[in-house]
């Protein structure tokens, strides 16, 4: 018996060995846990992945512009029923895009990816000597910033949202919605903390990020990543959304005082509207932007404002998804000499910077038009414009807004005039331009048109002024938020629909 037993043991051993070899097939399609978090290429992939997830959350169904522009109804849609519904604030309407826009899953993917990074980055630090302390510190700062940004973006859309700051991979428990005030306080803290560790530029021997970041040169990172100024610019938005205007003044001051350190500057109107200007690929003036770099074969058909706004003659498309009617254009661009858009004495547009085909049935909003590699060829509707969340002009106008609210008229006008001069307008004059705060918001509307700010500007304006009964009702009843997707509510029974949308 003993012999048989020996044979058996031997047999099992050999069999196991041979079979294991046949049965252990390492997937070439997915990276298993054992092959992740080992080397600094893994942290780079995870970090870039988190950026990629933010980009996908904002670009999916062109959400950034549907939230920010279409909802404000400055633009209207001739053919797309779903966009009409958004413009009418009929956010319960049954369209796939509206359902996608009421689903926060993509933002939580950002948050989960960030949480996981923070929990696992130490493993790489321990295993890969090439992964320096500084590299890790800067990575962590970016991840914390992106996570806070995701919460900020969600709070603007849904108000209260579940608050989750760890990956919970052992147990994905459902969470109820957390008070948005608490979340915003945390967001501000996180961003401030991140700002301390973020450099002004990457791979430029910044004191907080010496040497080449991930072995790539400065031009590779230009505008692509969150920087110190990014954090302060977004902080200004965070503070403004909460109505904490003193903080807005503080945060914007940091940006205005230091923008040259980040190679930032005010962009000319030509640069702003050129198809290979500010919006094309990536550059430092994209204070917080997500690029679709043409050279990286990253241009796409969707995820760009151009997909919504451009049509004939700018691209081959008969009717734009959204357009701005002529009378709206005239009421918004009502000052002579505006480089962005103004009429000459004969009533014809002086330039086609902001609007093409002005005299046609559909004036085409063509401020942003990065077609293919930044050309004006209408044949192929693939776009390479970056999604810019904020830029220096936006920060300057926020600063003006803060001073106007705080009663510092002089400084408010000074900041407003920076932008007015930049666009070749006469300095602000109360008699001609009316109420200061209104003039600042009007300037924002002109300058940042098509960049996904308008709806939030409207909310802030109406919070300050409270002079529009319809909007006041939205504000008081939570109607400024989006409904929560029914799919989410059915998954997580702790969630309650926003009362306005019940």
């Amino acid at each position: 018996m003993k012999v048989y037993f020996t044979i058996l043991v031997l047999a099992v051993t050999i069999t196991l060995g041979g079979c294991k070899k046949v049965l252990d097939v390492d997937s070439t399609r997915a990276v298993g846990e054992q092959n992740m978090w080992n080397v600094l290429e893994d942290t780079r992939a995870a970090l870039m992945g988190t950026y990629g997830l933010v980009r996908s959350a904002m670009a999916d169904h062109n959400a950034h512009w549907l939230y920010g522009e279409v909802r404000s109804a400055d633009f209207i849609s001739p053919v797309r029923q779903d966009l009409k519904a958004i413009g009418n604030n009929d956010l319960n309407a049954s369209y796939p895009s509206l359902d996608a826009l009421s689903n926060w899953r993509r933002w939580y993917a950002v948050i989960n990816s960030a949480n996981l990074f923070l929990e696992r980055v130490g493993e790489v630090k321990a295993k890969d000597p090439r992964y320096t302390d500084n590299n890790m510190r800067v990575d962590i700062a970016q991840i914390r910033f992106l996570r806070a940004y995701a919460y900020f973006y969600m709070v603007r859309i849904w108000g209260d949202v579940p608050f989750i700051i760890s990956s919970h991979e052992d147990d994905f428990e459902n969470k109820a919605r957390e008070d948005q005030g608490l979340i915003m306080a945390w967001v501000e803290q996180e961003m401030l903390a991140a700002a301390q560790d973020l450099p002004y530029k990457y791979s430029d021997n910044d004191e907080q990020q010496p040497g080449n970041y991930y072995n790539e040169s400065k031009s590779r990172w230009a505008g692509a990543l969150a920087r110190k100024l990014t954090a302060y610019a977004v902080l200004a938005h965070v503070a403004a959304w909460q109505g904490e205007y003193p903080n807005v003044a503080t945060y914007t001051k940091f940006v205005i005082d230091n923008y040259t350190k980040g190679e930032n500057g005010y962009v000319t109107t030509d640069n702003l509207t050129n198809s290979n200007g500010l919006f094309f690929n990536k550059n430092f003036n994209q204070l917080f932007g997500f690029n679709f770099d043409w050279g990286h074969i990253d241009a796409s058909f969707t995820g760009h404002i151009e997909e919504l706004t451009l049509a004939q003659p700018v691209v081959n498309k008969s009717i734009p998804d959204i357009f701005m009617p002529k009378d709206s254009i005239l009421s918004i661009f009502d000052e002579y000499g505006d480089e962005r858009f103004s009429l000459d004495t004969l009533g014809n547009p002086k330039s086609e910077r902001y609007f093409t085909n002005y005299n046609g049935k559909y004036p085409i909003f063509s401020k942003i038009k990065c077609i293919m590699g930044g050309v004006s060829n209408p044949e192929f509707r693939i776009f390479s414009s970056a999604m810019i969340f904020t830029r220096l002009e936006d920060v300057t106008l926020l600063r003006a807004e803060a001073f106007a609210v705080l009663g510092e008229r002089g400084q408010a006008i000074e900041n407003l005039n920076v932008i007015r001069e930049l666009r070749k307008l006469q300095p602000y004059d109360e008699v001609r331009n009316g109420d200061l705060l209104e003039a600042i918001f009007k300037e924002r509307r002109r300058e940042l048109m098509g960049e996904g700010h308008r709806w939030y500007d409207l909310v802030r304006y109406n919070r300050i002024r409270q002079n529009n009964p319809a909007f006041n009702e939205l504000l008081s009843q939570g109607g400024i938020y989006w409904p929560i997707s029914r799919a989410l509510i059915s998954q997580n029974k702790l969630l309650k629909q926003n009362s306005y949308w019940n």
Binding site: A30, R55, S94, R106, I297, Q491, N492, W501
Partner: protein
Amino acid sequence: MPKKLHVGWLYQMLAIFSCSLAMIFDKAYGEPLYAGPPDLAILMQDSIVQDSTALDSAKIDTVYEVKLPLPLKKVGRPAQNLDATVDDLARFPAVSLQQYLKGQAAGLYVQEPNGEPGSVQSMLIRGASMPLLSARELYQNQPLIVLDGVQLIGEHPFAYDIQQYDFNRIGTATNLLTNIDMANIASVEVLKDLPAVAIYGPRGANGVILLKTKQAGNRRAISFNAYTGLVQRPTVATMNGDYENSFRQQFYDRYTPAGRYTEDDVYPLYLSDSLNADYYGPSNWTDSYYRNALIYAVNASIAGGTDRANFRFALGNLKNKGVADNTGLDRYSASFTLNMKPIKWMTFSAMFNGNRIERQRNRNLRDRFALMNYIPDLSAPLAPNKESYDRYLKNFENSFDDNNSNIVEGFAGLLFDFGPLTFSTKFSVDYNEGYRDLFYPRTLLENNSFASNYYGYSQRIQFDNLLTYKVPLNGLHDLSLEAGQFVQWDTYKYNYAYAYRGVNDFIKLNLLESDPGKDEYLTPLAFPRELVYKFLDRTKHNLLAFYGRANYSFDEKYKVSLLLRGDASSNAQPTNRWLFTPVLAAEWNIKEDLMTQQDFFDVFNLRAGAGRTGRINAFDNFAQGPQYTAEVGFTGNVTTPGYNGFAVLTRPYSSGWIGYDLPWAYSDQLNLGLDLGFLQNRIKLQLDGYIRQDKNMMLAIPAYAEYGYNYAQQSGMEVHNSGLDIGIQATIIPTDRPFSWTTRLNVNLNKNKLNALPGGLDEIVLGNRKLEVGKPIDQYWLFQNEGIYLADDEVPLVNGQPMKFNGTALKAGDPKWVDTNNDQVISSEDKTLVGNMLPKVAGGFTNQFFYQKWSLTADLYFNLGRKILNQEMANRFDFINREGTNTMDAVKEITFWEKRGDYSKYPLYNPWSTVIPYRAEQDLFLENGAFLKMRTLSLSYDMSEWLNKRTAVVKKLRVYVSGHNLFTLTPYTGQDPELVNYTGYDTGYGLPIPRTYTLGVQVDL
């Protein structure tokens, strides 16, 4: 793993042997290899024997010298085969195996959602074992096809991962079961019961279709089979812009004050200009779209040999043209079989089957745009006028779409025969590769040319060993033992690239710099680098199995067989690699045992089987547990590779979380069968009842959204299928009369039920489907429609407010959807599960009449208890949401101008309403999809005798004339109730299955 110890040391020795061999092959070939159950034993079978089953193996021995020992008794398989003969099957002008077998065997359900020759079709044996949510599940439900012991591999659905639209898989999208020329086939068996399929292990979990190639005898034989025929252009009703315009005007008249619903409304230009002859002129596009076309097939074979060696060699060519859109398929095939017996105790056998399939695909816009991932301006759809349509078609002259597949399979095997002990070893390969090289010139799409190149292959290598021992017992006892092992190596791979905007229309290839010395090495030359997209992907799967079986028979009256097997899959998680399963089968020949004295019954045989078989994970990522991948794309841009030019790794947020400890899925089955023959076997009846429970199956559950995931991939779904296969064959007028009549009926009754969902859930919603425990898995989830609210005040008031649909107040012109849960609001909670996508009853009914040398075959095919959702009709009414936008929904094919169905049945809702009154998901568009089809009416004349009198050369000569798909009886109002895929939605995209007339000849010399 410890469980293995129970099986014993013999088993282990075999394991050592096989694993070592596996390692050797791994080393020697780099790419791994396969194995199927060694069917060497039945290779020598008479070429036209049909009731080739199992128990009556005696005749196999008697024919030739090159013969094999008695095959082991296969207990539990039917005693008689009631299906059509291969000669009859071969007369059907089919392109694919699915078409040959449709309606021919009880329990085998074939879906032919498209009449385009060579397009993908699916089969289900005894229902679906999981909800068919996408092409991925459909793939996981396909039966195993075994050709002479070679398990065919097919094509893996992993390529769908890079596709925004899943209408077709990238690549050739050719049905790979077009590689079977029925003229080469000696027998077809559909194995359904667990005792019959158990030997194939997890691969056979969905049933097995066993094909055997014709073998040579020991004298020279030549055969020739050919047909030629005509596919007939269908007659359809067409319409033009005027018709469509007046159709839409009724909505404008009713719901708009001044011809527009809102100020910004746009009426489509192509309908508003009644002077435009393209749209408003004659609608005669059908002359260029539909056609009559010729088809033919020819197969010639030569066979010969001696007592010690023989061979058969066959060549074939087939051309099948579709009636619509210039589609067609050409097949070139070669088949070769060889048997040698160099020494008394050893036989060598080999088989090769090679096919080349060239397929001309349709030119519809949807498939082209889906391939290009680009939708051009859709404001001017294809016009119904022939001149205009011809101008469009002319653009294709400068394009090409080479869509070819090469499919080869073969084996080489040795059988050692030492009397009671035999050992067989077999090495087999199935390989298929597909190429699609395509170019669209600038003129076809807004001055943008497009090139795409696909190359992909699937390869299965199998290595099989089987040891059998016939225990020398005396008297009435008969015991045989088997021990077998196989290893199977599957590899799937593709390379795919596409590019836009080439430099001109003369360079149609996506050329790359080929000089490795240059910096620009591999940079595209003819297409801009920034618009070239490249994809590589590969997946592997290895399967390993050991099994042992004992068969015992007492006096041919009682038989029992026990199979024990262990299977391991590389797609199972390392902690759960192995699955051990038993199958027990028993048979009682009551006729021989108890009824020898009475002569009413000629056959009375009872069979039973019970056991378990594993189900394989189709995707290798399940084996990895928690993992990372690159999923940072978004709707419309799914293949985003990274950010800022860097590859990324994220959790699989879109496809779903995968955890640890996922067990094997398995299928438990209970079979009970009864074979009856009475009245001198004039009536044969076969009844097979079954219960199958598929357990522990994976399902993507919508979950963890607050952790970023779309789904959680969880195990624990359980689906129950039960039913009855009925086969009846009756000789109504016996064949010894001048006029005779036989009739054959096969029916499957099947019903399915969801027994459990992962995580103990009661129900989940997946897209427009809902799965509810206790309900069937193939039901539609729809609103119940009860008409229309003609006025605002007809809408019920809830707390003084009009009733709401998902938060939007209902108004005049909106549908009356039933508030089934009485919660005073209409929401998806009010949708109910109704109707079945799969038929509850399906089968075939064949009658054959013989008069002297004439015979007439009439073959009917039917489906009952099945519903179809007429999405094409819903789309027609929902024109407001399908006009002017740049989405796939707005694409209008040329067949938009074909009038299908009855518009007057539907209420006139307000199409602008944001509740989307004409959504497809309501019972308004659900129709009865039952049908009865005349598949074949064939008249043949046997000239053998007549010729035999004149020459001894001709053994058989039969000429025939047939008509196929002659008529369909159905209450369904859409196109054709068959042209619906697994989703049950009739999208209107199926090309017609043509009426076909053939004239053919079958000659044996």
